[in-house]
Symmetry: C2
Subunit: 102 residues, 2 copies
């Protein structure tokens, strides 16, 4: 399993960020070819106290590397990247991950 | 669903880090009362290039807030925190998150 995990820092305008995220960006994510699931985790606290470094951790789940690679090359992913830059420029870290066993 | 998500930056000694993580820390995580699952995501790349900010994103999954709160107050969690400080001091960010719907 391959997951693309996006970490979002606190936006300047949280209301506008969340509205755009749920109305536009999350639906665009679901159009990626081969995507299995999108898991959204809203951060409520830092376990050790203080201001959390991120407000949202979004996971895009793909069954395998070939499906992931094809999704990344798709026109849908280009549109997703353009949208990301329109509302989350400078606050999004996006990492490619592979599932490991505990 | 409540997830505790731990983000690990690159350790000074990667071999020692991974050995301790899989031999000691991951098994300790599984002892938390009420925990449903532990999902381990090893970071392979930053989607936009460059050195990834983290090497591992670990998710500890709890069914609800009450179960999570009880787990955090448990002796097992104190042991887990002690272990974390022993091998990942200064490189771990741990966030409390709630599942949101896309």
């Amino acid at each position: 399993m391959i997951k693309l995990i996006a970490l979002y820092e606190k936006p300047d305008d949280p209301d506008a960020f969340w509205e755009h995220y749920f109305a536009v960006h999350a639906p665009l994510t679901m159009t990626l070819p081969g995507i299995e699931a999108v898991n959204l985790n809203r951060v409520t606290a830092d376990a050790f106290g203080g201001e959390p470094r991120y407000v949202l951790i979004a996971e895009m789940v793909f069954p395998d590397r070939a499906t992931f690679d094809a999704a990344m090359r798709s026109p849908e992913n280009r549109a997703l990247g353009q949208d990301l830059r329109s509302f989350a420029r400078g606050i999004a870290t996006v990492l490619v991950t592979e599932e490991a066993s505990a």
